[in-house]
Amino acid sequence: MKKIILVFIIFLLSGCFNYKEVSDLAFISGFGIDYLNDNFHIILEVQENDEETSSYLLEGSGRTIESAIQNASLSFNKNLYFINLDILLISSEAANKKLPNILDYVTRDNNFSFNFNIAICDNQKHAMENILNKKEIFGRYINSLFKNTDTNVINIKLDKLLNHYLNDKYDIILPVFNIIEDNIIINEAVIFKNKQIIDTLNEREMALYNILNNNQKDYYLTLENNIVFRTSHYYTTIIFKKNTLYIMPTLTGTFMEFESLELNNESKIKEITNKVNEEFNSELDTFIKKIIQNNSDPLGFKRLTKIKDLPNIKYHINTKIMLENKSLIFKSVGDNS
């Protein structure tokens, strides 16, 4: 009996230090970091479950990230809880100067998970307020935006970013949020190297990057007479053999829109697929020339080829286009023959 009392007393002494009431937690779904005048300015989006307000915004500033967060939480009555974080926004200033500090803070704490997206956005408060006015939660909105496979956004999460950052053989690529007419559009991506932004990619180039990296998103290609070829899935292999880099993408897809074409005719199909092939080759060629000339390496060419200066590299593109199914109709609707 005495033993049981002793054990019980020891348990009571444990003090419940790590006890957190669920109703005392503030769930944070968006986190934005800016760096101006040697101070970090952060903005946090706190989720609420009321019907009127879906979330709050908190702001704070300080010399370090931790002091900025403490500053921000002064005005709010709950403990900040970062595990359900959906999006981390970094301004380009902060990315240029303080990216290692940010990554260190986010990796060291056990209360951050790996599942949040990272993006670059310069006007963070404006972006968050836009979405809040639509009565939606910013983090969830961005999460579903990234998951939408119709658009060609580059989705990068923390563990991949950390892998590429610590590994000298890759350059980091991050999507950029632009605000056009009160809407958030992700139509650019930047490539980092040695804490400098060296290159930006536009939409078509982001799509080509996705193809080369096997992220299965949609890609469409328009020919002259309004024939649109859209891929359903693709696969790329990149090999380095005999001092040249062989890039071999294989695209399978369907024709989505065309005028005056009969798909029953085998020769005509071959003609069209050859045209698509040429067009795609030229696009990919210009893209690869661009990134090689800027010495930027988001795809890891340096790791494969072990060449330090990219502009000296020789490459050869060999695409293959396959028509998967011919869709619902044979003849085009606008065809009169």
Partner: protein, 285 residues
């Protein structure tokens, strides 16, 4: 049932090589051998088989058994409390975690010597189940580009890593009773293959540079499990298999000691630990 059956003994042989890797072990091996970890592990397995044959003879000598039991007890208590303190309860003072663990060890020593083997039999089933779950969910996330050689091949480091592996996986076997008669090398090989799979998961998912900055990479890979976006962040539940394995080794090491000597050692650990906290300001590990 005063004798230990074959199944129970085999499950203990399966569980013992792993808990000494908690914390310091995995980090050191990845740091030393990099992406050539498979080579150092295979060398380590061969060396470990050889070491087991030596330990079979050493296990008869009572003095060595008792001294290694004491060393393993102190080391495992230390690594387990640091692991639980950083991963589960980070604000709770470590001494409370230590006290509750000591109470459990004293309780298991009060029962007969065959109890810990029966407990290990059941814990073996549970940890195999948890491991199969992690394998099935984490295998698709392996990235093959993480395995290609990025660092240069330094022979000395790889040999040191394999020695490290061999010692950490075979040292607990000295504390087993009847080791000479009942040792089964196939079960040891299976257990080392388990550890090898764990290492491939760690390096395949995280990559060598990321895995070498974390203190507990075996905990970090559990953070990446995500099934249908509903079952996420289950790392705390799956990490319990390491707690069970560490407890097995603590239980078996304490079996070899007299009850009064064990009580004396544990109270000494408590007193020394509480004195050290007030004196030393920097964290040792």
């Amino acid at each position: 049932m005063k004798r230990i059956t074959k199944h129970e003994y085999n499950s203990v042989i399966f569980l013992l090589p792993r808990p000494l890797f908690l914390g310091l072990g995995i980090y050191r091996i990845i740091h030393l051998s990099g992406s050539y970890f498979w080579l150092s592990i295979i060398l380590g397995i061969l060396f470990g088989l050889f070491l087991n044959i030596i330990f079979k003879k050493l296990a008869d000598i009572k003095l060595i058994k008792k001294s290694i039991s004491i060393i393993l007890l102190i080391y495992c208590l230390y690594t387990l409390t640091s692991a639980v303190s950083t991963l589960y309860l980070n604000i709770t003072p470590k001494i409370i975690i230590l006290i509750t663990l000591l109470l459990m060890i004293i309780y298991s020593r009060m029962k007969s010597k065959t109890t810990i083997f029966k407990v290990a039999n059941i814990l073996f089933i549970i940890s195999i189940g948890l491991f199969i779950f992690t394998l099935l969910t984490l295998f698709p996330l392996i990235d093959i580009t993480n395995f290609t050689s990025e660092n240069s091949f330094i022979l000395k480091n790889i040999l040191i890593a394999s020695l490290y592996f061999a010692f950490l996986s075979t040292l607990p076997y000295i504390t087993l009773p009847d080791f000479k008669e009942k040792y089964n090398h196939k079960i040891y090989l299976l257990s080392c293959i388990y550890t090898l799979l764990l290492f491939t998961l760690i390096i395949g998912i995280l990559g060598v540079p990321v895995a070498s900055i974390y203190k507990y990479p075996e905990y970090i890979i559990y953070k990446k499990i995500s099934i249908l976006n509903i079952i996420e962040n289950v790392q705390n539940i799956l990490f319990m298999s390491w707690i069970f394995e560490s407890f097995t080794i603590l239980g078996i090491a304490s079996n070899n000691l007299n009850k009064k000597i064990l009580l004396f050692i544990l109270i000494a650990i408590l007193i020394i630990y509480s004195l050290l906290i007030t004196r030393i300001n920097n964290i040792i590990f």
